[in-house]
Symmetry: C2
Subunit: 350 residues, 2 copies
Amino acid sequence: MEEFELDDRKTKILNAIIRTYLETGEPVGSRTISKYTDLNLSSATIRNEMADLEELGYILQPHTSAGRIPSDKGYRFYVDHLMEDKNREVDEMKQFVIEHTEKMEQVLQQVAKVLAANTNYATMVTAPSYHRNKVKFIQLSNVDTGQILAVIVTEGNMVKNKIISVSEPIDNETMLKLNFLLNSNLNGLALEEINLKTISRLKEQAGIHSDIVSDVLDTLAETMGADEDIRVYTSGTTNLFKYPELSDSAEKASKLISTFEEKQQLASLVTENLLNEENTGIQVYIGNESPIQTMKDCSVVTATYELGEGVRGTIGIVGPKRMDYEKVMNNLKTLKKSLDGILDKSREEV
Amino acid sequence: MEEFELDDRKTKILNAIIRTYLETGEPVGSRTISKYTDLNLSSATIRNEMADLEELGYILQPHTSAGRIPSDKGYRFYVDHLMEDKNREVDEMKQFVIEHTEKMEQVLQQVAKVLAANTNYATMVTAPSYHRNKVKFIQLSNVDTGQILAVIVTEGNMVKNKIISVSEPIDNETMLKLNFLLNSNLNGLALEEINLKTISRLKEQAGIHSDIVSDVLDTLAETMGADEDIRVYTSGTTNLFKYPELSDSAEKASKLISTFEEKQQLASLVTENLLNEENTGIQVYIGNESPIQTMKDCSVVTATYELGEGVRGTIGIVGPKRMDYEKVMNNLKTLKKSLDGILDKSREEV
DNA sequence: TGTTAGCACTCCTAACAAATGAGTGCTAAT
DNA sequence: ATTAGCACTCATTTGTTAGGAGTGCTAACA
C-alpha cells in the first residue's frame, strides 16, 4: 500500500493526467490539467505537483518541454485504485455465446472477433483445455486391417481420437474385453489421477495386448495433456496499427504482429493462469509486467473462463498501455460470466 | 501468343529490366540496363526500346523522370516465357514431411513456417479437405444418457465426430443394428455418391430411429462437406513488411495482414482450385488476376497437393509482384511432390 | 507557507527553399 | 539504325527558419 505517497490532490491530478492521456495519446501539459480538474489550480501549481509525481515515478517526460505521460507505475496505480468499475452490459455477445454453444470453435473465433471490433484492440481466445477434465468414455474399434481407432470422450463432451497401428489384427471378442477393461479402470478419472499403479494394473490385465493399452494411455496423455496444442484464436491484430506508439517503426509493428501469428507463444502467456487453481479473476499486465518480451510496450488483460469443472480457457486483449481499461475489463467480465459454467448449463437444458 | 509483338532484343531488354527490378525493387533506368546486358547498347538506344515496351504495356513509369517497373502484363510475360526452370531441391523439407506424417496439423503449420523462412514471403497452407473422400467406417455408441457419439472415419484416415442428443435412450442391440445398417449402406461411398435414394432407403430400414440416421447424415455432410471449415495455416505474414511497395502506408499493410487473419477469405481463394479436377499444377496470380481484392498489389502462387485420392489441399505464397518466381515455384513444386500421394505411401509402409 | 503570474529557455515540428541527382525525351551527328 | 549530348522534369534530401507547446525558476502575493 504505497498510497501514502500520494495526498488527495496529487491523486486527483494523476487521475486527470492518465484519463486525458488515455483519450488523446498525446503527452499532457500542465495547462490542460489546470482547466480539466474541478479543483481550480493554476498551471504553475500543477507543474509543481507534476514535478513531484515525476520524481515519485508515476509519470514521465518523453523529452524536456513536452507534457507528461503515465509510467508503468502510474498505469498500475490507476488500474488498482483510480479506475471506476462501471457495469455496462455486453448483452449481444452474451446472447450470441449462449445461442451457439454447439460449435465451440466458431464461437471462440467469433468472440475474438466481436471483442476486437468492440474494443479496437487485438484479441486472443484460447480454446478450453482439458486440464482436470475427467474421462467419460473410451472406445476402441477395428477400422481397417492393422488399424485401430481409439476414441476418448471427456466430461465436457470433448472428443479426441487417434488411429493406432497394430501388427496383428484383434478379434471382436478381445476388443470387447479391452474396451471393458479400459472403461472400468479409467472412467471418472482425471489425467492427474492416472498414476503408475493404475497403469501397471491395467497392463497386467490386458496381458499380451498391453502394448495397445500403452498406446491408448499415450493418446490420453497427449490429448488431455497440458499445453500440447492449445488452440488460439486471434482477431484484430491490425488494430494495433491504430496506435502510433506501437507502430511508429515498421519493425516494432512487425514484431508484435509476428507474436500474434506464433500462437504457441501466446498460449504460453496464458498457461500459468490456467493451472493456477485459485485464479479465476482478471489479470492485468502493464508493460514489462507481461511475460512476453515483445509486448513490453503494451498492456495485456486476460480473463480465465471455466466452461465446466476444470475445463478452462483464456480470453485476452492486447493494446497500448493507454488502453481503455474500464471498457476492456468490463467486456471481459461480462464475457467471462457468459462462458462460465456453460457446459453444466447446456447439460441441464437437454 | 502475342510474342510476335516483341523481337529478340526487346525480349532481352524486358528480361533485364524485370530481373533487375526483382532484385532491387527500385525503378530501373536505361543506363543500368545499358551496362547490365551483354548486347552492348547505349543508354539512349535502351531508352528508345523502353519507350516502345512502355507503349506495348509491358513496363510503366511511376512518374516522369523515374526508371521503369514491370506492369502486370510484363510479369505475366516473364512468368510464361522468360523464366528459367531451375531444379534445385528442397530436400530438408521433403524429408521432414515424410518423417512426420502422423501429425498432419503440425506438419502443415511447419511447412508454412519453413516455406516462409525460405522465401521471405507470406505463406498459407490449407489442411486437406475431404472432397471426394470415401467413408470407411461409421460408429455410433452410447456415451451418456441421452447422448450418442457418432464417429466417422474416411479413406484418408480422417476422423470426425459429433455428439448427438436423443430424447430417449437406445439399447445396445438396437445400436448394433443401426451401426450395421449405416456401415453396410454407406461405406465406400463418397459424399457426392450419397443420393436421395440411398438416404430414403436408409431411413426406411431404420424405422423409428430414422431421426438418428438423419443426424448422422447431417454430420457426414457437415464434416465432409466443401469449404465448411477449411483450416488454414499461415506464416511469415510480417515478411510483407520487408517490401516497401506493400507496406509504405500503414493502411495498406494493415489491410493485407488482416486478410491473412481472416483465414476464411484465404480459403475462398483456394477452393476453386481444389474442386477443379484437372488442375494439379501450379497457379500464378499476378496483381489484379488474384480473386482477392486486397491482394491486387501482390502476386500469389499456389500449388494443389493431393495426399490421396480426392484428399486435397493447397500451399500458397503471397509476396510482392516482384517476387522471385523461380525460387518460389521450385519450392512449391518440390513440396507438392513430397506431399502428393503420401497417404497411399504411408498405408503401404504399415 | 502555499499559490500564482511572468519570463526565459528547451526542444519538437511543420513549412519552405534550395540543392541534388537520377532519368527521360529529343535532336543532331555518325 | 545507333549514339552522344543536352535541356528538362520531378522525387528526394538537406538545411533553415518560425512557431508553439511546455517546462523550470523566480519573485510577488494572500
